[in-house]
Symmetry: C2
Subunit: 415 residues, 2 copies
């Protein structure tokens, strides 16, 4: 029986042109982040199934590709549940593995530890256009830095990356989990309901103030609380400087997160280039339950959605070691960046000249070495030289090569 | 309960210093291969379980990490066998996925198609020192080129890579599966026994002629055939030019592979640099059953073993499409190269200067942007600048940073 030619469901083969772009983007990201003192690290693609199912990953934990036990450990006959037959899974993100890595190696790492990770992650999501079950994430994280110098450097580094990749007019939206909570408290919501309130608030950019009000009331929240809450967002909007308004309005305990946001925004505005702006967004929520402080997101108006984000998660290492370590990270949406660059017809700057040496079929093998020595000299000088046998249909062969960027051709015939 | 800090059994975390070396080596390999006209491609890390179990992978098929079916497709209760509960597996090499890829996309690819792949593969091998269950393979392959210009370019490209990575005195061993068979036929072995004979022959470098004789006779092969076979190896050794000797001695049908080997060796010798030599090795077997013609291996005397190899496998694409396509590949033993470079104390040439800006705890946040703007200028110029808060124990902090290559320090204090 013939083997299957298609990749497995929901995953894809990457063709040469896209791969060249992906390699270029990864190079820019790596070079930029490394110039900021982030050091590359790597963890295995698989993690212990217990770590992956520890409620750190929220909804992603439902999407894990699980790996069958092997050898004697596999007892299919007596297996009642999935957990009886699997011992590992493919990672759904890079943050949980990084926290495990840091917990395992803290003594061998510089403090603070600035990590750079680029790697595949897997989620058994329902296949849909432009979303795949294997995709690249690209994260920087700082462990052991409690002050907001971490946030400032993460934003500085990531925006520098995006500028170098020719992005313009993007926006960094920023908020604080502690501020989100203070606002909910001020309105009168109960602490156990905060997460449900935030899930609805998160839809503000899609359904607007009225839509959020409707949804909150549909969930049977106290109407007075809902109205006080939404009024807060209106006042922020009208006030001109939302953070100043909140500082005057909310409890004393909100001043810490507010001042931190003011410091970060102030510093970034004095560092920043003209390609982006940084704005306080009181409706920014970010899905992952593990965030404990600052949260941020990259918005690209041309794209109409986030293409990266991150935040502070000071409690995750504690799940491994029993004692918390400050942690803050920023993840670039690599696949979306590739999509955007492809759609905008982005051309890789400084690509080497591509030359093709076409060797006639009857060219004697004894003289091939001359052709290749000539090719090697050009390659040594940084150019790309393809040595191929001339096909019967030379014209078509050349057209195909021109389409892949070959601009010079030299033909070799037997005398 | 605390989460597990260790990576899963048999896999490992990669620390920053090694990761910097791995990135450097990958860059050199990619840049070199691309200058030869190989185009990077990528396939998903998972393949259909039927493809992986199709007897292309020999012993590796016993080592597959299998992925559990999901949702309604998983019926644990009625499962009798592994195959009932899994639908995919992690790839054990890059050659089978590449053949699937080529079969799936041949119309969209240049002909001949020169592919470059660097990626992880997984094998559930017994854990042992220096061998891991996840490791990087680094392959180049040429599809659609039947002539030995393919072999010559593969060897030219790979040896150029190794030279650029500072390897000296290495050896390319070369042989031909068709010649191996002709020699076995000449000795009088039956065709159905060839593979068993070759498995023993493969041990020649460890157990010598006498050991091979003993093992062949222990397998109850005809003593006359065994002696005629081993005599052939002695004569090759004594003859000075083994290929000439075999050309005179063996059947007419052996002349094709012999002449091809002579052409390849002749061409490579005229191209080659002084870092390596290419030698005909009549005892070279290479394990994989899919090889159909030329086979080769990189031997490093300092390492005492192969650190890469490859060959021609003209029948694999046919398993997907029904019609064969010539194919030839060369795989570099990436993990062994990293091990050797690490052990030899290899220093990465041209690494950027590493500078650390240490900011006193009391330094005002409003002025952080000045520090970062100064850092950004140096980063723009290609240098690495780490901005960190000064720790209480500044001396230890500096020592640690010096150990990671930081050579310049600048301190920032509040006035």
């Amino acid at each position: 029986m013939a083997l299957k030619k298609k990749p497995v469901t929901g995953m894809r083969d990457i063709l040469p042109d896209e791969m060249v772009l992906r390699d270029y983007v990864q190079d820019v990201i790596k070079k930029t982040y490394r110039s900021f003192g982030f050091t590359p690290i790597e963890t295995p693609c698989m993690e212990d199934i217990e770590n992956l199912s520890s409620k750190q990953g929220g909804e992603n934990e439902k999407l894990i590709f699980k790996v069958l036990k092997r050898g004697e450990k596999l007892d299919l006959e007596n297996a009642k549940d999935e957990i009886d037959v699997v011992d590992m899974g493919l990672r759904y993100d890079l943050t949980l593995p990084l926290s495990r890595y840091y917990s395992n190696h803290a003594n061998e790492l510089n403090q603070p530890f600035k990590a750079l990770q680029i790697g595949n992650v897997w989620r058994a999501d329902r296949p849909q256009r432009g979303r795949y079950r294997q995709f690249v994430q690209c994260d920087i994280d700082i462990f052991g830095e409690a002050s907001n110098i971490a946030e400032i450097e993460l934003i500085n580094a990531t925006t520098t990356c995006l500028s170098r990749l020719s992005f313009k007019n993007f926006e960094i939206k920023i908020n604080e989990r502690r501020l989100l909570k203070a606002m909910a408290k001020y309105a009168g919501f109960k602490e156990e309901n905060y997460d449900d309130v935030f899930i609805i608030l998160d839809k503000m950019d899609k359904i607007g103030l009225d839509g959020v009000r409707e949804d909150l009331i549909a969930c049977e929240f106290d109407v007075a609380a809902v109205d006080k809450y939404l009024d807060l967002f209106k006042k922020i909007e009208e006030s001109g400087d939302g953070l100043d308004y909140l500082l005057k309005t909310l409890d004393e305990e909100a001043s810490d997160p507010i001042n931190s946001l003011k410091e970060i925004i102030g510093a970034v505005n004095k560092i920043k280039n003209d390609d982006f702006k940084i704005v306080f967004d009181p409706t920014l929520v970010r899905g992952m339950g593990y965030y404990t402080g600052t949260i941020f997101e990259i918005a690209l108006p041309e794209f109409g959605g986030a293409c990266g984000g991150g935040g502070r998660y000071d409690k995750m290492v504690g799940n491994f070691t029993g004692s918390d370590v400050p942690a803050c990270g920023f993840s670039i949406g690599f696949e979306r960046i590739i999509l955007l660059l492809t759609e905008s017809g982005f051309k890789i700057p400084g690509a080497p000249k591509k030359i093709c040496f076409m060797v006639d079929k009857k060219y004697p093998v004894e003289k091939l070495s001359d052709v290749m020595n000539e090719a090697n000299k050009l390659r040594e000088a940084g150019e790309t030289v393809l040595v191929v046998k001339m096909n019967k249909n030379k014209k078509f062969q050349k057209e195909q090569l021109e389409a892949s960027g070959y601009t010079e051709f030299k033909e070799f015939f037997a005398d």
